[in-house]
Symmetry: C2
Subunit: 121 residues, 2 copies
Amino acid sequence: MSTNPQLDEILDGLRKIQGIHGTALVEKYGLVSGQALPAWIDAESLGAMVNLIVKASARATRELAQGEFKSAMIDNEKGRLIFTALGSKILIIVATPNVAMGILQVKLQTAAQAIYQLGIT
Amino acid sequence: MSTNPQLDEILDGLRKIQGIHGTALVEKYGLVSGQALPAWIDAESLGAMVNLIVKASARATRELAQGEFKSAMIDNEKGRLIFTALGSKILIIVATPNVAMGILQVKLQTAAQAIYQLGIT
């Protein structure tokens, strides 16, 4: 939950997609701006993870001249993590390993656009 | 380059795929076991990046009960980084943003199998 009901609605919508455990909007330094997470996922730890990914990407930007971070996907044995840059924030999705990526990409695009229009990123 | 000519051959083969800048086999703590990288990519920095990704994933394993790290992909504005777990090591590929993933996935699978058979992972 956040102090922004429109953001909560968008995040809740993403969470309802099959194969999605939860989602959160995180500032690059790890602070959580909004979330729709199940009780077993700690928002603060998730924020710290996002911070690590952004750090790794910032290093890539410097060393490999790869430009701005756009998105990332981490596949673990029992889950998939999807990170999407939205202005100065990151949308993270915690999913099952076999989540249907085609459907998710479309809904993610729509949600990203809607969040962008809230003017909070 | 490494002290293993068979590993060098496999990594060189991957590097020849269109859209691939270079590739390296890295120990989880960042030490580079072998590489086929262009002069502008510093192997040590690449090793450090791999270490950051593995750290982020280890945190996911702990906090989200996601099990072992399998693979990751980071999309930046001007490049794509692809990480694949091979036993205790990580194969990293530095690619252009528009690299053809279908072809790459097939060749990556073959290379991973060949590296695995060298008994060094």
